[in-house]
């Protein structure tokens, strides 16, 4: 990448930063300007991410050395297939959620747009950075913004939930720092690509220290990813957040997953021995446990937001277990699943609120209905209700359609991308030479999760949308419908264009397995000879 195009890599970080910094000096009353500014920035982010993705697909990983310092001394941003894919996903979610928020949610507290854009900045930064400490910084940016966004609109539940969320994340951040310190103390570098080369050269004496550092670091990421038993805060926090915020939070667990993917392949790739294997087992079993827990949560949920939250856990579990099992095919499948499930959860969070808007505050009615008629069908006779369908008002029809699509996506049923994702995952699991018991368990859990989702979603959907209520449904604004439609449209596109998308994922997985391109782009250039000291030279460094 040369010329002006080269600076494109940093735009996903700078664009939201500058836009929000500009908004800070704008008065709170100039809402329209702020909306325009933030939506414009979010739309631009999609374009930037798309161009980057296209470019990276054509020409391989690209690095951006901040401050023009040589690698590995500079903080390096790296755009490769994986990171640009995550960027694109983030910017799509960001745009749709912001769009949705402008229906009314951005009015429930001051500075919503600034916080939202800064969240996007943090997420984008975490995806782009090739430096392990800079990753910490961006984690903090995105976490801080997420604290702000959760609290947006205040209220008891939000505050209580965020108290847990913040405390746990601060504790996790301290673990992050500890891990980074350990890794730095052994390797002497922070650049991920450089780490990759240095880790393989580590003395066996120092290996335990390094692995301990990686493990502690891993715990920090696993908290973000929402792994059992470190995930109990997640469903509650997401449920407490306002819908557009929860919708964009769908990407947050994926940041943790992304980092685990990135670092596990860079640091403990195919060459490293026992420790990596052990970590994989931890990931696998914790992932399976997370799936199990998520399934229980989906079944146990009394509110749709909790269903969604536990689905997030299930998807985290699937992704982590799949990382634990490994293999290129499975990695490609998990990437596809990652994209699909993220979009699905996001759409679900957006649609829950209008669906529940009509319903009373009550919980979903429990699974068992009154046994009106028994095994033998005698119902039709006793039912005095007229057999004329009630006219579904447009709102309900649209909501119902959207809701069904979300349910299908989550349960992995056709015609949206969830089906392909599920198929690809199981297919990859079956493609192993030996199908271990853990693989069977995982397959069973994938299926069970789909069923549990279906049970919970039909229960909720029937209850909320099909059960006639006295009130007439409230109005549904176009601003709320459009983003949901956009997200579902993307999922439909993923289904139709499954071939090329899956090809992309496979190439991405292959690149993860052979990170040579990444290391070449972002790692140390050539050994730098010590500079002979001289007075500072004026001007930009040559």
């Amino acid at each position: 990448m040369t010329g002006w195009l080269a600076h494109l890599i940093i735009l996903p970080i700078l664009l939201p930063l500058v836009a929000s910094a500009m908004m800070l000096s704008l008065d709170e009353r100039r809402r329209a300007t702020k909306r325009a500014l933030s939506l414009g920035a979010a739309a631009l982010l999609i374009a930037v991410a798309a161009v980057l993705l296209w470019f990276v697909r054509e020409s391989g990983p690209q690095a951006y050395r901040l401050g023009d310092w040589p690698s590995p001394f500079a903080i390096t941003l790296v755009a490769d297939r994986l990171s640009t894919m995550m960027l694109l996903l983030t910017s799509i979610l960001g745009f749709t959620s912001l769009f949705y928020a402008s229906a009314r949610w951005d009015r429930s507290g001051p500075r919503f747009h600034a916080l939202f854009l800064l969240l996007l900045m943090g997420i984008n930064g975490a995806f782009l950075t090739g430096d392990i400490f800079n990753l910490f910084v961006f984690f903090e940016v995105l976490l801080a913004a997420s604290y702000g966004l959760i609290l947006h609109g205040a209220g008891t539940e939000r505050t209580s939930a965020s108290l847990h969320y913040i405390t746990i994340n601060i504790a996790a951040s301290l673990l992050f720092l500890t891990g980074v310190a350990l890794i730095y103390s052994v390797t002497g570098t922070l650049n991920m690509a450089d780490l990759a080369t240095r880790v393989s050269l580590t003395d066996s004496e120092d290996l335990a220290l390094l692995e301990s550092g990686a493990a502690i670091l891993g715990v920090a990421f696993l908290v973000k990813a929402g792994i059992w038993p470190l995930c109990f805060w997640l469903p509650r926090t997401y449920a407490a957040a306002s819908p557009p915020v929860a919708a964009v939070f769908a990407i947050m667990t994926k940041v943790g997953i992304y980092v685990i993917l990135r670092l596990s392949f860079l640091l403990f790739g195919k060459d490293s021995g026992g420790a990596a294997g052990f970590a994989n087992e931890v990931l696998l079993f914790a992932g399976l446990a997370t799936m199990g827990f998520g399934i229980l949560g989906i079944l146990a949920a009394r509110q749709l937001t909790r269903v969604a939250g536990h689905y997030v856990l299930v998807s985290s579990g699937i992704l982590l277990a799949a990382i634990g099992i490994g293999g290129e095919a499975l990695t490609a499948a998990l990437l596809f699943y990652l994209v699909s499930s993220t979009l699905a959860v996001s759409a679900l969070y957006l649609i829950i609120e209008p669906v529940e808007r009509n319903a009373d505050e009550e919980d979903i009615i429990d699974g068992i209905a009154e046994p009106v008629f028994d095994d033998e069908y005698v119902g039709a006779i006793e039912e005095e209700e007229s057999e004329v369908g009630i006219v579904i008002p447009g709102t309900i029809a649209i909501l119902g359609g959207g809701f069904i699509f979300c349910a299908l996506l989550l349960a992995g049923l056709p015609p949206l991308s969830g089906f392909i994702a599920k198929f690809a995952l199981i297919d990859a699991l079956f493609s192993h030479v030996v199908i271990a018991p853990a693989h069977w368990i995982m397959i069973a859990l994938i299926i069970l999760s789909g069923l549990a989702t279906m049970i919970a979603m039909t229960r909720a959907g029937i209850d909320r949308l099909w059960t006639p209520g006295e009130e007439s449904p409230s109005r549904l604004s176009v601003i709320e419908v459009t983003p949901i439609g956009l997200l579902l449209g993307v999922c439909l596109l993923l289904m139709i264009a499954a071939g090329p998308v899956m090809d992309f994922m496979q190439a991405t997985a292959a690149a993860l397995y052979d990170p040579g391109g990444y290391i070449e782009a972002a790692g140390p250039a050539v050994s730098i000879p010590p500079e002979s000291a001289s007075p500072p030279i004026a001007g930009y460094r040559p």
Partner: protein, 974 residues
């Protein structure tokens, strides 16, 4: 005319029609039905057009790229069998659409109905035409989905909602199992393509994974075709509008399972497991369905159970595994579709015209609707297997096959008897259906006065009944060639010779048929009267599958809640214990494997002062841990002590910048915590006196102590191991070497912060900004606890005193208290500001920098606030924290972006000397501008945070007056 691409048209037309229908206005009944009807007819025509090619033995395939990397093409495939099936789906579909046009009430939002119906038809066609298994599963799940919508079409009825949900869950579950089965098949054969799979039959059957794959696929087929014990969803699906039942339960939905069994019959059948599982399931279904059908009081209920029974019959035939049985199965599939569709239509007409389907209330309708009655009688006779009707032919074949020995088990022996018995039941309920509806005295007290159905509503029935008759009388001329085609394409070389003649002479099957007919009729004569009083079928009725289903679901949910509660504690403390515990465990594991050792480097001599400092620091830390519960202020000062020890350590360990910064942050944090402390409740003494503390609490504390000690020991051990190892070849070497020559600063730490790693700093000030915004946002809505709304008790007392004394006035105590401090703190303000600027400017070369300077400036402002109070300060100083933040961020970012102009990456620093007379060359680095940005952000954020907190106090009087004034001054000043 057999362009393979036309297959795509056949498949997509219904979906297109569905979309059009969905877009129609609610009153568009005629349009919707007309479009749907023409699409179905067009489909029939298109499929019929493929006949010559199919008849020539060709397998028509149309492929498009879909997921090539996973071995998936979007393939449409048409052979003799699927041709017949597709034609059946479309033809009966057309008739049902015509019927539905008249059945559905004008008030119904029928466009939606036709949209769902067509989409369902499309999905069913998708199953039939799929050329690979995954695609088949795809459409399979789609049929579940659309049947859900169709069954729940009258969703204002509880029964419809429950029925729809049950059908979806049961068939959806089966579909997923089937998908896994397919994936296993794919793994065995290396392909999902149906032709490839069919060709690989022997490989599949010999494979280890055959049995699991078989079971999974059968689960899919059985749930879909309502085989025992999954049959219970079908009767409940009768809550759907009758046209839906007529379609779903004759030619489509339930037949999908049968279709799958037939399709994969060549590949999967012929093993013992196939025989045992499929035959047993079919037989059980046959009997259970037939038995239950006898006792139904609802017309549709009777038909539903009869459907189950006939599906069982087909399954049983397929289970037998002999080619002849397969022929019978295919034949009966078609026959059942025709007579059952017409019977459902009859039931619908009766319901439509009389307002009830209750057999006990209906009677003597033949007088009122003679044509319908006649048609229904013919169809029912076909169902009962009366000669000269199509049902008779396939049932004969069934009975003949039942006589054949297949396995050498007990089944061979009992099968003929059970088959005859089931046939007898079938006769029984057929007679009951006709007799109790059409014969007997005229009905009384019906909701509507019965009359003949409209002409066009009867037409579909007439066509179907005609088909029953024609096939029954001249099978070879009508169905013969098509059946042969289908059989040929399924069985291939194994196609047996069979005859479709009506009369094969007196044979054992004939005798069994006769016995069933006579026996059924006699039994009806004997027991028919008593049926009206029974509310459920004997024996089978006790199974209560539906209630079991609901109970199972409820149990699952309850169990899930219980387990979820156990496995997912929501308490923060537990979560933190788990987090730290996990970290300690995982952090320690590598040492368990690789062993712990200190490094080889010698340790430095212990500096007694340093040790002393940490004696103090450690005492403070432990003291804070000890005191934090009841003596918060004390704990706060002790934390300050520990922080001071940390600062000194930084300085001792050659980090003057850190020491300075830590000190400054310490001060601000202390004030911050004190500001927060004002809003906390007074701590009550312990609930339990130490001695009577419950055991569980003791245990929990012991556990906490254990984890805390483990964590502390772990960190200490890690630190020790780290410090005693030789230094790695660190990248900081470069920073030290180049800080001055390339970064233009001698303070390497600062050059790293603003230049080498300025990007981190940019992120860090962003975090500050975000937090300040959040704090500000949150505090705008802040609602204190009731007991902290009042002024602190100290102030209340002091104000009271001021009021009580004659020569004092309100606020005197405070004024006197702060009299001297205010003067000093006020004059220190410019001094501290100067110090702040000094720290900022020297940072690049010596300890200091933007952050330290910014915090110092904030402390200056903070002191003013403490000395003068909020109103005093804000009436004098116009602090615009948001502007500071905005300016700082933009300056820092802008400095970074300026490098773009010269074509360098973001944050590339610029360095030059400005020649100033008298003073000489003054170095000016862009990094310094960046640091000013940091300074501004830090000032803005710290001040905003503290002010927002402080403002809560002056908002209180307003609140106490009950005023809901929400605006706060920082916002106004922003």
């Amino acid at each position: 005319m057999h362009d393979p691409r036309l297959l795509l048209a056949v498949l997509s037309l219904p979906f297109l029609g569905a979309m059009i229908a969905a877009a129609l206005p609610q009153a568009g009944r005629n349009w919707a039905s007309a479009i749907a009807g023409s699409i179905a007819v067009a489909g029939v025509v298109l499929v019929a057009g493929f006949y010559p090619a199919v008849a020539a033995g060709e397998v028509i395939r149309s492929e498009a790229s879909w997921l090539p990397s996973l071995g998936l093409q979007f393939t449409l495939r048409l052979d003799g069998f699927t041709w017949l099936f597709a034609l059946m789906v479309l033809a009966i579909g057309s008739l049902v659409i015509l019927y539905a046009r008249y059945y559905m009430s004008p008030q119904d939002p029928v466009p939606r109905f036709f949209a769902f119906l067509q989409a369902f038809m499309g999905a069913m066609l998708g199953i039939v035409l799929s050329g690979n298994l995954i695609q088949l599963a795809f459409f399979w799940e789609l049929t579940s989905l659309f049947s859900f919508l169709l069954i729940g079409y009258w969703h204002h009825n509880q029964g419809a909602r429950d029925g729809a949900r049950m059908a979806l869950i049961v068939t959806g579950f089966g579909g997923v199992c089937m998908l896994i089965g397919f994936l296993l098949i794919g793994r065995i054969t290396g392909s999902y393509d149906i032709d490839a799979v069919l060709a690989a039959g022997p490989v599949i059957r010999a494979h280890d994974a055959y049995l699991p794959a078989l079971i999974l696929i059968l689960l899919g087929a059985f749930t879909k075709s309502a085989q025992f014990p999954f049959h219970f969803w079908l009767p409940h699906a009768m809550a759907a509008p009758t046209p839906v039942s007529a379609y779903l339960h004759s030619a489509t939905m339930v037949k999908a399972g049968v279709f799958l069994l037939i399709l994969l019959w060549p590949a999967l059948s012929g093993t013992e497991s196939w025989y045992l599982i499929v035959t047993a399931a079919g037989l059980a279904t046959l009997l259970v369905g037939a038995w239950s059908a006898i006792f139904q009081q609802d017309l549709k209920g009777l038909l539903a159970y009869s459907t189950i029974s006939h599906l069982g019959l087909i399954t049983l035939l397929l289970g037998l595994g002999s080619p002849l049985a397969a022929v019978a199965a295919i034949f009966h599939t078609v026959n059942h579709a025709t007579f059952k569709a017409s019977l459902f239509m009859a039931a619908g007409i009766i319901d439509h015209e009389t307002g009830t389907r209750d057999l006990r209330r209906l009677s003597g309708l033949a007088k009122f609707m003679p044509i319908t009655a006649t048609l229904a009688m013919v169809a029912a006779a076909a169902m009962a297997g009366v000669p000269l009707l199509n049902g008779f032919l396939s049932k004969e074949m069934f009975l003949a096959e039942a006589l054949e020995a297949h396995s050498g088990t007990i089944l061979d022996l009992v099968l003929p008897y059970l088959a005859t018995l089931a046939s007898g039941f079938s006769v029984f309920y057929s007679i009951r259906f006709i007799n109790e509806t059409f014969f007997g005295p005229a009905p009384v007290d019906l909701p509507r006065s019965p009359r003949e159905a409209p002409r066009w509503m009867r037409l579909p029935m007439e066509i179907l009944v005609l088909a029953c008759l024609l096939v029954g009388i001249v099978p070879a001329l009508t169905i013969g060639p098509f059946l042969a085609l289908a059989v040929e394409s399924v069985l291939g070389e194994r196609t047996p010779s069979y005859s479709l003649a009506i009369w094969h002479g007196f044979s054992l099957p004939m005798l069994m048929s006769l016995a069933a007919l006579v026996g059924g009729a006699l039994a009806y004569r004997r027991f028919g009267r008593r049926l009206g009083t029974m509310d459920r079928s004997p024996v089978i009725g006790r199974l209560k599958a539906r209630r079991t289903f609901e109970a199972v679901l409820a149990t699952i949910v309850d169990a899930a809640r219980l387990l979820h509660g156990w496995l997912g504690p929501h308490r923060l403390q537990v979560q933190l214990r788990l987090l730290i515990g996990t970290a300690v465990l995982l952090g320690a594991l590598p040492f368990l494997f690789l062993g712990y050792s200190r490094g080889p480097e010698p340790v430095a001599l212990i500096d007694p002062v340093f040790a002393l400092i940490w004696m103090i620091g450690g005492l403070c830390a432990i003291g804070a841990a000890w005191q934090a519960k009841f003596h918060r202020l004390v704990a706060l000062s002790l934390i300050g002590g520990a922080g001071l020890a940390t600062s000194i350590s930084f300085i001792w360990l050659s980090a003057p910048d850190l020491g300075l910064t830590q000190l400054l942050v310490e001060i601000v944090t202390l004030v911050l915590l004190l500001l927060g402390l004002r809003w906390l409740p007074l701590r009550r003494p312990a609930i339990w006196p130490e001695a009577r503390m419950p055991l569980i609490v003791r245990l929990r504390r012991g556990q906490d102590l254990l984890i805390a000690l483990a964590g502390g020991t772990g960190m200490a051990a890690l630190a020790y191991a780290m410090m005693t190892r030789p230094t790695a070849d660190s990248i900081s070497r470069y920073f030290v070497e180049n800080a001055y020559p390339k970064g233009g600063g001698t303070n390497v730490v600062n050059v790293i912060l603003v230049d080498f790693r300025g990007f981190d700093t940019l992120g860090e000030i962003t975090v500050l900004t975000i937090v300040a915004l959040t704090v500000f946002t949150l505090l705008r809505r802040f609602r204190p606890a009731p007991e902290s709304i009042e002024l602190p008790h100290q102030q209340q007392r002091q104000n009271e005193f001021d009021r009580a004394e004659e020569d004092r006035s309100h606020g005197d105590t405070l004024a006197h208290y702060l009299f001297v401090p205010r003067i000093i703190m006020q004059w220190l303000f410019p001094v501290i500001l100067t110090f702040a600027i000094y720290l900022l400017m020297r940072g690049h070369d010596l300890p200091g920098g933007g952050f330290a300077g910014g915090v110092t400036a904030s402390i200056a402002i903070l002191l003013l606030y403490m000395a003068g109070g909020t109103r005093w300060v804000e009436s004098r100083l116009d602090i615009l924290p948001l502007r500071w933040m905005s300016f700082g961020l933009l300056l820092a970012t802008g400095t970074g972006m300026a490098a773009w102009i010269a074509g360098y990456p973001f944050l590339t620093s610029h360095f030059s000397y400005a020649a100033i007379p008298l003073i000489g060359d003054v170095p000016i680095a862009s990094a310094w501008l960046f640091d000013i940005g940091v300074f501004a952000v830090v000032v803005g954020t710290t001040v905003l945070t503290l002010i927002a907190l402080a403002h809560q106090s002056i908002r209180l009087p307003l609140r106490r007056k009950g005023s809901e004034e929400q605006a706060s001054a920082p916002e106004r000043s922003a």
